[in-house]
Symmetry: C2
Subunit: 366 residues, 2 copies
């Protein structure tokens, strides 16, 4: 996507070929800064501290992290260590394990002196494939938006989304937002309700930044407002991303997603989840066992933003002495999900639906 | 309740008898400041800007606002004007209309030279009655908490609440929090999950401040987290306040309440609403027609808090150019409400339940 007219991905090989560059997402929407990552530790830190975030981008970054580690040391021990260090960065998004498994499988049987180049090429391939995957998700989602628009000719289609599943969460295009961009670009009248997504405000910062940059009409709302908007018939459909889908169709996504799915069901609003197949965890029977990251409480008690003079400041909103809990994700049971938008089409949110699009995939851990 | 060992109400007659004093709730939790209100305009402004808020306290403040206006000018015209100015301050809490109606009915047929004194006395009576009403709500709610505790002897009872329906929302004690204080004081082991309640953070600021001051164990959470906690069996019951209950039991309360009610139902967690009978709008058949206040978008886009050096600063969290919408309340359908905790006991959330406790009340507008 373009920032000030210049096309960007969220991750790209840096000059010199021994490092990667990423957009520092902790600075958005107030500053657009890029960051060079040239060691395994820097890469792991970037994932852990959410400089990069979003399931597909976490996977892509981890892939490059492994390539960077193997450039430094192509031994089996270094390979295993990089795998472990990167896998431990964040627990919920399964794309991380998916990308690391793919990288390990690719380089494992290669001679040591070829591992650096092979892994670098594989990481680049993961990125390119992610772009193509998201483009396809966008096209299938576009069909869906067109069908909704066709039922109410001339009227604006109102989409609600939670967190950020746009191009900043992927390498380009996005998952949940790819259909939105394509619909907007084809002239379909569209408006997005953007959940701010406390505590880290990925909606108010990243999704609003994306939509603003692309000129897509949108309105930021407190996470609390979505139920009211659905009851008021102001939402035509909900589209969110996901960090891990269990085999039965249960969906882990940013904390608060489950509440929106409940409201959508209570008001007969379609609730779609957009995902690349790398987000499906074929090994997990149901969502109950998806590990939910517990992050630091200060992400709840402290908020940073832009002061009137343009500087960035952090303020504390709770009284001293009040502790905070900060679960990062919740699980939406598949019964509340209308359908999955994948790179191979749209399917029902259950094992039969997933298997219809991805037959013979991931019966067991590779 | 006590602040630093000194007992406070949220509103009291100021020295000299021609003004009232209130706690400035926009400064909490960072500063405890009181404010003197000596004109109708100051009183209306205090309600509008949420220096005072919470349905019962809005009613009590409006009552004193009318007394202040009549002290200045006891004419019928001044009475009508004060009624109109105060009624327009906020649309959703029906206690405002209830208090103004009661004040007007009390002074209307009194001679002009007696109106100031009569109205001042009536406002004081409204405050005293509110304290007693909340105390009774607390006792009935305490029975409920004891019953929950009895099913799991020795274990902590986990209550989730949204927004602030504590003593700061009333004159003293609170509605939803009155049972919590009483349970804590009797030694019942209890912990409160405090929804931060975006966009104005009444949970993170006011409820956390209250519980912190009183020593009640609590944890602040993002509004998004409640569904996850209920699915994880970490919530035994939800208790919230309300700004207006329609005759059929539909409940208007702070935006986001509906989402918690949906999650409670989905997880078989009891969902109670605590209210004084002045919050029942007998004139409204259902909640669909409760007016929902739309507040300024900058309450979503800007957050104020305490900086590291102790000063209070406001930061902007959205990108320039992203608009925000800010509906202040939502309506929870009565089907999602387990019961009402009132000053006359606990009843089912429907007209039959309300009439069983308040027979012959409010068949039509007085």
């Amino acid at each position: 996507m373009k920032i000030n007219g210049k096309p960007y991905r969220t991750i790209w090989p840096g000059a010199g070929g021994d490092a990667i560059e990423v957009i520092d997402q902790t600075k958005l929407p107030h500053r657009f800064e890029t960051l060079r990552l040239s060691t395994l530790e820097q890469t792991a830190h970037a994932i852990r501290s959410m400089i990069v975030r979003g399931a597909p981008l976490i996977g892509a970054t981890a892939a490059y992290g492994m390539a960077i580690a193997l450039r430094e040391n192509p031994s089996d021990e270094a390979l295993d260590r990089a795998y472990d260090v990167l896998l431990r960065t964040r627990p919920t998004a399964v794309n991380l394990r998916w990308a690391l498994d793919r990288m390990r499988d690719t380089v494992r049987n290669r001679p040591r002196d070829a591992r650096a180049e092979t892994s670098w090429r594989e990481a680049a391939a993961i990125c390119d494939e992610d772009v193509e995957t998201c483009r396809r998700i966008g096209e299938f989602g576009l069909d869906l938006l067109r069908k909704v628009a066709a039922t109410r000719p001339g009227e604006t289609v109102n989409v609600l989304t939670h967190c950020n599943a746009g191009w900043l969460a992927c390498v380009d295009w996005g998952t949940a937002l790819a259909p939105v961009y394509m619909a907007h670009d084809t002239g379909l009248p569209l408006h997005v309700w953007v959940d701010e997504t406390r505590p880290r405000n990925q909606g108010a910062s990243l999704t609003a930044f994306e939509l603003n940059s692309h000129g897509v009409p949108h309105t930021v709302i407190a996470d609390n407002a979505g139920g009211y908007l659905m009851r008021s018939r102001k939402v035509d459909l909900v589209i969110v991303g996901t960090d891990r889908v269990a085999r039965n169709g249960d969906v882990a996504n940013k904390i608060g997603t489950y509440l929106k799915a409940l409201a959508a069901r209570d008001n007969d609003v379609p609730f779609y989840v957009a995902l690349p197949s790398s987000t499906i965890d074929w090994l997990l029977e149901s969502g109950d066992r998806i590990p939910i990251e517990e992050r630091a409480g200060d992400e709840v008690t402290h908020i940073s933003g832009r002061t009137r003079d343009g500087s960035i400041a952090e303020v504390e909103i709770t009284p001293a002495g009040s502790p905070a809990a900060n679960p990062g994700f919740d699980v939406t049971p598949s019964r509340l999900v209308t359908g999955f938008i994948t790179e191979r089409g749209i399917c029902s949110a259950d094992e039969a639906g997933l298997r219809s699009l991805f037959p013979g995939t991931g019966a067991r851990r590779p």
